[in-house]
Symmetry: C2
Subunit: 193 residues, 2 copies
């Protein structure tokens, strides 16, 4: 591929990430992506195919980048939650892509599923070792940890309106609350041996 | 208002709930709502104003209906989570409206905020009474409980693909996992008095 085509592809991907993160799949407009990338619509179809295919690529790349950036040592769920919190504070567009994909594109992404499989297997091993409660299935725990990390960002605006009065007032406070919550959630019940 | 106008309004609201739950605000089409309600587009503007105003009404009505249907005795978070789980299994469109509104309509709804305020205040009272851990602010706990209830439905499809292998296999199993998780999350740490 000639260098200028690579450069155009990169600009298109950046513009597509912005557009889809802001407007979702249905709301995104291909001509706006082309305009913001200083390219033409035809080059999008040529490089990426349909709008849906471009969306899938944007989501897959973002999710794999996010997962690759977070360590997951010995199924340490609280540490994992803290790490994920930090990444998503830095990359808020990934969170929006995640939720758009959930609502608008009901299909798994193979590379992402492979990463989840590694993590869920690590949680199972930690459950067997007694470090994580074993009365909740490993995949359920994974889903809950992600949900807790995102809890303020997915909260209704009507609840967010109460945050300054009844909630964590700083980013550090929110992070501490997330880590404490996941630690409490993961803890094996005190009455077990 | 003549009876037939009331009837038309009801049909339009039902069609609007379906349309917005499926496609969100940007993706919804007013002419499809009119068609499904056997009404004309003009009657939508007449009764509800703009597409955005109709969306706001659909979301507000749905959220208030949901909140009214769930009891919240003495800040019993695990019971609340179980109740909310049951309602959202019965009314899956409300969950979708909740997430669309989060992504597409960044503004609180007064009636919903008033309900959240009651609940958050009840959590604070339960924290003071020592029934709920007090190291996480009450509004953060509220946001986390809602996130856990919805955790499978907001999970990436790439994680959902692993549910049959590593997760709860039945609705009852998912409900039990949610209630156990919220109980663990809310529990005051064992080392406190």
């Amino acid at each position: 591929m000639p260098p200028d085509a690579t450069e155009t592809k990169k600009r298109l991907m950046r513009a597509a990430v912005d557009e889809f993160a802001r407007y979702g799949l249905a709301g995104a407009r291909i001509d706006r992506i082309a305009e913001n990338a200083a390219a033409n619509k035809r080059s999008i179809y040529m490089h990426f195919g349909t709008k849906e295919e471009l969306f899938d690529k944007v989501v897959a790349d973002s999710m794999v980048m996010l997962a690759d950036s977070i360590s997951f040592d010995r199924g340490d769920l609280a540490g994992y939650a803290g790490d994920m919190f930090d990444r998503l504070e830095r990359w808020p567009h990934i969170r929006r892509l995640y939720y758009w994909a959930n609502l608008e594109r009901e299909r798994p992404i193979d590379a992402e599923t492979a990463q989840y499989r590694q993590r869920v297997t690590a949680i199972q091993a930690a459950q067997t070792a007694g470090r994580i409660r074993d009365d909740i299935p490993a995949a359920d725990l994974m889903a809950m940890v992600i949900a807790i990390v995102n809890s303020w960002d997915t909260a209704a605006w009507s609840l967010q309106a109460l945050r300054s009065e009844f909630g964590s007032r700083s980013r550090g406070g929110r992070r501490a609350a997330v880590v404490a919550a996941v630690a409490g959630l993961a803890q094996p019940p005190a009455h077990t041996t």
